[in-house]
Subunit: 205 residues, 2 copies
């Protein structure tokens, strides 16, 4: 796989993005990549405050305000973390990016997709991923896995099954629409199997 | 003056907006208006957290991220505070609104004005003020007055004279461009004189 690419990982709750990014990062490092692992929201020192605000505000935060907060976090993240790393030729693996905003705020919360695309473009300064891995998992299975990991349910996980179904379908539609950029990987029975499929989708093994 | 209007107050630091909004609100209440006084950033319960994040983050916050944070605050504010008040026929006096974003983030920090207009429109759901009072004051005089009021200088007030000059000129250009919506009131020697001019500009006395 070419070095210095910007690769994003997308998918519903409990799809295993964090685990698989970590494993892929280890693998790529062995292959000589200089790897940066980062995530949205929260990939900058400042973004810790954003993340707390976003995930802990309970139901007082309106969807449109939430959308702008995610974009604030993104602007900071792209300028401060992603672009500098890419300029140095590093491979950037990012846990959630613009597609999550379209899936969660658009398909999930019902905000206008054209407006989200506009905000995504402005906040990211039009930086698009070279490749996007969509880790797909049936919603109930994913939520069960997400719950197992945390004691506390954050706002997103309380949003209900129908919401998460819309999010998943949103991701799948995006992957269809931009099939050149996306690789869709279904969650397998074991982490090892899924990780192998991710590597195969990237043409590495 | 017609009841139930949305009136915004704009102007550089130390232009006396807070004082004059308070005085005008008292006056309008006596005239039978039901008045809501609010401000950006910070006109919702949740927005307290936004305001703290915006004003206290020091220099780590990048201009583009700052812009999106202001818009997040605005979305919450318009939906939760301003629109409900206007629907009840109340007169809304708001300390800063979309013009401040154009003056501070556009003219001041140099972000793209077209993009700011787009974000302003989306965040405000295209809600425009019926009238905007621009309280104008020479920058050095304004900063001196702003400093007198607070012990702590926040991030905006540390930004330097040239920044605040650009902001002031930005406001004046906006007032020229949208002269039907704007009333420009120069700060006078006394609060009473300025307040009288504000009332005159609104056709009330």
């Amino acid at each position: 796989m070419k070095k210095g690419q910007f690769i994003t990982f997308e998918g519903p709750e409990g799809s295993g993005k964090t685990t698989h990014i970590r494993l892929l990062a280890l693998f790529l490092k062995k292959q000589g990549h200089s790897v940066v692992v980062t995530r949205e929201p929260g990939g900058t020192p400042l973004a810790h405050a954003f993340r707390r605000l976003l995930l802990d505000t309970g139901d007082g935060l309106l969807p449109l305000a939430e959308l702008f907060l995610y974009e604030a976090d993104r602007a900071q993240h792209v300028l401060q973390t992603i672009l500098p790393a890419l300029k140095k030729g590093r491979t950037v693996l990012c846990d959630r990016y613009t597609d999550s905003t379209l899936a969660y705020q658009g398909s999930g919360r019902g905000l206008n997709a054209k407006e989200i695309e506009t905000l995504n473009r402005i906040a990211s300064m039009n930086l698009k991923p070279n490749l996007t891995i969509l880790l797909d998992v049936p919603v109930e299975r994913g939520l069960k896995q997400a719950r197992r990991k945390k004691n506390k349910h954050d706002r997103l996980e309380r949003a209900g099954l129908a919401f998460h179904q819309r999010v998943r379908q949103g991701f799948l539609r995006l992957a269809k629409k931009e099939h050149k950029r996306f690789r869709v990987v279904q969650q397998q029975d074991t982490i090892e199997q899924t990780q192998r499929m991710i590597r195969e989708s990237l043409g590495i093994r």
